[in-house]
């Protein structure tokens, strides 16, 4: 036991990294599966970053809708990103995190207006919640907002 004592500080680093690697990877896989399924299910509600409605016809009403998500990166990815910053280049581990967060925010936005026909002026904002909190929780918030358009029902002929 005595012989291992010098390694205890190392364990404090290694254990979260290993846990982060296992659960983080599992989480990511599950999340991507859910995102793909829901994106398929919401294909009938197109979103555009354009400020003008693309669909022709009479507009019945519109409303401001939003969706947001706060995600944090796991310890393994943070360590990987730390190593990456030595040599530079694309930080894959953060790319997938932000990609998931953005798609999730847009999906939540769509889920908040099930009867809409179109989403216009989709805007995404990313805010870091861990700025200047050394040792704090490293997390980003992705916030999506847009105007949902409800078309008037076509007259029954």
């Amino acid at each position: 036991m005595e012989a291992f004592a010098p390694f205890f500080p190392l364990l404090i680093w290694v254990v979260p990294i290993v846990l982060g690697f296992m659960f983080g990877r599992l989480n990511e896989k599950r999340h991507y599966r859910s995102i793909h399924e829901r994106e398929q299910a919401w294909l009938h509600l197109p979103a555009t970053a354009s400020r003008y409605p693309l669909l022709p016809g009479q507009i019945a009403r519109s409303e401001l809708v939003n969706g947001s998500v706060v995600v944090s990166v796991d310890y393994f990815k943070r360590a990987a990103a730390g190593l990456r910053s030595i040599v530079g280049g694309p930080v894959k581990s953060y790319e997938s995190l932000l990609d998931r967060a953005k798609r999730e925010a847009v999906l939540r936005l769509k889920e908040s207006c099930p009867g809409a026909h179109e989403i216009v002026n989709l805007r995404l904002e990313t805010a870091s919640l861990s700025k200047n909190t050394r040792g704090g929780v490293g997390a980003v918030e992705v916030f999506a907002f847009a105007t949902a358009i409800y078309m008037a029902e076509p007259d029954p002929v």
Partner: protein, 104 residues
């Protein structure tokens, strides 16, 4: 109250403009949530506590903006924008602003 983040309220016409209205909230997260988030931080993923917290504060900011618009006699707010900034350790400001108008 109609809200949109484009220049008009689709399907309506703007008859009068009342100027910029805004609402803001500054919220701190409480310790319990912070501890949970710290644990969640090891494995990564969504921090539900924070998502809820930010949504609540955003709703409150929107309510404040609406109240201001109502006071001006407007019935709609166009070009609504949001911004978030962390002002201090553990606290974030949510700011929402737009142009108050009357539509018919």
């Amino acid at each position: 109250m109609f809200l949109s983040n484009i220049e008009t309220i689709p399907g309506k016409t703007i008859t009068a403009s009342h100027g910029v209205v805004s609402g803001s909230t500054v919220r701190a997260k409480h310790v319990g949530r912070d501890i949970m988030a710290g644990l969640k931080n090891i494995v990564g993923g969504e921090l539900r506590g924070y998502t809820e917290l930010l949504n609540e504060s955003r709703d409150q900011a929107i309510e404040r903006m609406k109240a201001q618009a109502q006071q001006m006699g407007a019935n709609a707010i166009v070009n609504v924008r949001f911004s978030t900034s962390s002002v201090a350790v553990g606290a974030a400001e949510i700011y929402v602003y737009g142009t108050a108008v009357t539509v018919a």
